[in-house]
């Protein structure tokens, strides 16, 4: 191999090589960190909420008329909604997964105000909750009609039973069989006992960026508030046809209220992850453009160096170097520069990442990402140099005999 002469030639024209190496290093730093962030965000978006999202929507009903009877209206509404054609089931619910607004409480294994507490998102539903949300009950039982009570405005007490998500169950009781967790008594509001009567496989909290997003519980309460939200599950594919029917049904039953904020779970998911999705898109575009710019930079400098060395190439060809030798010369030269670049880039990547992790909520990159980034950048550099290098192969040995 002619790495010796190549390196010596490089050391006589350091600037061009340095410029390329620096570009490669910076590009790699940005690309590896950004790629990692995109992966993390997209990974978050892919997490299932536990709901049968494509068949679910919800709508708010806010009573304003002076004779508006909250409880009677809710009972009438639910009865009517559940009988509508195309509707599988319906409930009142105080919060919606991924929507960004909801209630959270803490559950404790031991009562008191200084024992360990596990944060949990609260969904208030009746005995139709599990069915409407399309949850998968993996242990214990669903609520019974007798379990369900009204929750008055300002009320702070809780019912006797709760159904929790499997992630909540294993967070509180890590090594226990799910069937044994059912029946356990835990404490809410520091010292109010509630019994775990069932466990659902998955049910996410309303906040997409929450650390404890998988920890949630259903409580058998119907909110007797002047503003309530109905969540409706339709038969597969009938969502669009059912939505207007539900809205008119509600208004026909009682027009002393506003029916508003109708939204499907699909829209809620898009909104909930708007920032993550947007960020991922921006970073992907930035990465692509950055790689393109680096490729163009390598190409520009390589063409320049080929043009400047036309005579030298001609002399080498005249002295017996084959076209492959010339091609190899430029590829190896480029590889040397790229290697310097990616090793510097590896250090910078780790440095930038350490700073981002320290200063902000940024994921720590795994070591495996660095060699992949290095290979990617070397490949990009090699691909961009092929064009100029092939032009170099075409230089005729006769050039050597001319005086420029």
């Amino acid at each position: 191999m002619e790495t010796g002469p190549i390196l010596r030639a490089l050391s006589r024209n350091k600037t061009g090589a340095l410029l390329i190496a620096l570009q490669i290093a910076f590009t790699m730093t940005v690309v590896v960190n950004a790629w990692y962030m995109v992966g993390e965000r997209l990974g978050n978006i892919d997490r299932p909420s536990g709901l049968l999202e494509e068949d679910i929507f919800y709508v708010s009903s806010t009573g304003f008329a002076e004779d508006f009877n909250i409880k009677v209206t809710i009972e009438e509404d639910l009865l009517a909604l559940r009988q509508l054609p195309g509707v599988v089931d319906a409930v009142t619910i105080n919060a919606v997964p991924l929507s960004g607004g909801g209630w959270s409480m803490g559950l404790r294994i031991d009562p008191g105000d200084d024992t360990q507490s596990w944060p949990v998102a609260v969904y208030m539903v009746d005995q139709h909750g599990v069915n409407t949300l399309g949850l998968n009950l993996v242990a214990g039982d669903d609520f019974d009609v007798a379990d369900v009570e009204w929750r008055e405005p300002g009320q702070t007490s809780w019912p006797d039973k709760v159904v929790i998500s499997q992630a909540m169950a294993t967070a509180m009781f890590p090594d226990m069989d799910l069937n044994n967790i059912v029946g356990k008594t835990v404490y809410i509001s520091n010292d109010e006992p509630v019994m775990i009567s069932g466990i659902v496989e998955k049910l996410q909290a309303p906040w997409s960026g929450w650390n404890s997003i998988e920890q949630s519980m259903l409580v058998p309460q119907k909110t007797a508030f002047s503003s309530v939200r109905y969540m409706v599950r339709t038969e597969p594919g009938r969502l669009d046809e059912v939505i207007p029917r539900v809205e008119t049904t509600l208004l026909n039953l009682n027009d002393g209220r506003l029916v508003r904020n109708t939204m499907t779970m699909t829209e809620t998911r898009e909104r909930g992850y708007l920032l993550d999705q947007g960020l991922a898109t921006i970073l992907t575009v930035v990465m692509a453009v950055l790689l393109l710019i680096t490729a163009v930079g390598v190409l520009g400098l390589a063409s320049f160096s080929v043009r400047r060395r036309t005579r030298q190439i001609g002399v080498r060809r005249a002295l017996g170097a084959t076209q492959q030798d010339i091609l190899r010369y430029f590829l190896v030269e480029n590889a040397c520069i790229a290697l310097i670049g990616v090793f510097a880039g590896a250090l910078m990547t780790v440095g930038l990442n350490a700073w981002l992790v320290g200063a902000m909520s940024f994921p720590k990159i795994q070591w495996g990402a660095i060699p992949i980034g290095m290979i990617l950048l070397v490949l990009v550099a090699q691909l961009s140099v092929i064009g100029p290098a092939r032009r170099a192969c075409g230089v005729s040995p006769a050039v050597a005999t001319r005086t420029v």
């Binding site: 620096l22 962030m37 710019i293």
Partner: protein, 436 residues
């Protein structure tokens, strides 16, 4: 002379138009990406009330759980309890002060063709309007006497006044809100501080509310509150118990123009907490804080981490574009070594050549800057498309940003042109002429 150099540069740019185009594109892309992100950051971090931001203070008191800080490391809660907010209002230790909180009202109108609608409401005290320099189109805010009398008065935003009264002077008219009759006392003009500094608990870039009503009416009429409520200790049932609970849901601002007043206010807060400690409240160590507008925005990380990460990425992006331009300029100028050698031999001074090539770099910079501005505009529209209403307040270009984009582009390309030009001027004429 300058014009002549510019013409030479123009010829040179055209003679190698592909390389020139590459450079303009590189500078333009760098500037475009950088300025898009910088604009969003600049607006996120801008001072929402520049002439008063150092006189308005957000009040925090650590009434939180004795066993856990509200937020590590030992940050006091971001809102106040009703008990404390009312104590501060009654004491009136600042020249102006207001407790404030968000609520929602159902507006019903006499006209049968207008359907009732839900309006977002901001509650506050009389001082709210003069404190925050709220501009009025008609009428004014309410008075302290009306606060005390719990009068059912309402101030409308310009849009709400358009919607209900068709934009006419509605002062003195009445409307029904959540079952009660309110008298309009004022209509405010366009007002939308960014960030919405007076309440960032539900998002720093939300729109200002549709209507304003006295804070005391939340209690008097049990209006439905919106915004965030956080409790560390369970409260008993009912509204009165809620008011007396340790739940936090109120923002509190005090106007304290001088350092002496700020100090006096802090010691007043300490005295209040010490007194409450005797009643068994405030079991955490003394941890009261007043923060002026900008300090509060910073404490609450109004410029989000994502935006800062993007800023780092954007700056590195610009840097790569500059390295690229340096490389391309170097190729271009050194490719003309023979011409340079010849001109040097014929008597052109280094200074002349230097000026000529720097002008060429600057021209590429101007072109790159213009392209960058166009790309910035495209980028901001793209952000709007991605994020929608979320970001609508953040994606406007003002003259400061336009000027900085152009200046940045020219500075960047002059910087990029400096080394290649210097190299080109130092070409030894003899070495180039020998081969001819």
């Amino acid at each position: 002379m300058l014009l002549y150099y510019a013409r030479i540069a123009w010829v040179s740019i055209l003679s190698n138009w592909f390389l020139s185009l590459l450079m303009v594109t590189a500078v333009g892309l760098g500037i475009g990406v950088c300025m898009t992100i910088v604009t969003v950051n600049y607006i996120m971090g801008s001072d929402p009330i520049p002439n008063k931001s150092s006189e308005l203070f957000y009040v925090q008191m650590d009434s939180w759980d004795p066993n856990d800080a509200f937020r590590e490391p030992n940050e006091p809660p971001n809102q106040l309890t009703y008990l404390d907010a009312m104590a501060l209002m009654t004491a009136g230790q600042a020249s102006r002060q207001t407790a404030s909180s968000a609520a929602s009202l159902i507006l019903e109108l006499d006209q049968p063709d207008l359907k009732p609608f839900i309006a977002s409401a901001r509650t506050g005290f009389a001082d709210f309007f003069p404190m925050f320099d709220v501009p009025f189109l008609y009428g004014s805010g309410w008075s302290k006497a009306e606060d005390d009398a719990r009068s059912q008065v309402i101030v409308l935003s310009k849009e709400t006044n358009e919607r209900i009264f068709g934009g006419e002077n509605s002062v003195g008219r009445t409307l029904r809100a959540s079952g009660h009759t309110f008298t309009v006392v004022g209509v405010i003009d366009d007002w939308g501080p960014v960030p919405k500094f007076f309440d960032i608990t539900t998002g720093p870039f939300n729109e200002v509310e549709d209507v304003f009503v006295p804070f005391n009416l939340i209690v008097e009429l049990e209006l439905s509150r919106s915004g965030n409520t956080n409790c560390w200790k369970p409260s008993a049932d009912g509204f009165v118990a809620f008011l007396n609970s340790e739940c936090i849901w109120i923002q509190f601002w005090a106007e304290l123009p001088t350092a002496a007043e700020q100090e006096a206010y802090l010691s007043y807060l300490d005295a209040h907490v010490m007194q409450q400690k005797e009643l068994g409240r405030f079991q955490r160590p003394l941890n009261n804080r007043i923060s002026d507008v900008n300090a509060w925005m910073e404490n609450q990380r109004v410029v989000q981490d994502e935006a800062q990460i993007m800023l780092v990425v954007a700056v590195m992006f610009l840097f790569v574009c500059l390295l690229n331009t340096i490389g391309l300029l170097l190729s271009k100028f050194l490719g003309r070594s023979q011409e340079i050698g010849l001109r040097r031999a014929l008597g052109a001074s280094k200074a002349t050549l230097f000026a000529q090539y720097m002008i060429e770099s600057a021209m590429i910079g101007v072109a790159g800057g213009v392209l960058g501005l166009i790309l910035t505009w495209v980028g901001l529209r793209g952000l709007e498309g991605l994020f929608g209403d979320f970001i609508a307040n953040l994606v406007t270009l003002d003259w400061v940003m336009v000027a900085s984009a152009i200046v940045l582009a020219i500075a960047a390309s002059l910087l990029a042109g400096f080394y290649p030009t210097w190299r080109a001027c130092n070409v030894a004429p003899a070495a180039q002429l020998k081969a001819q």
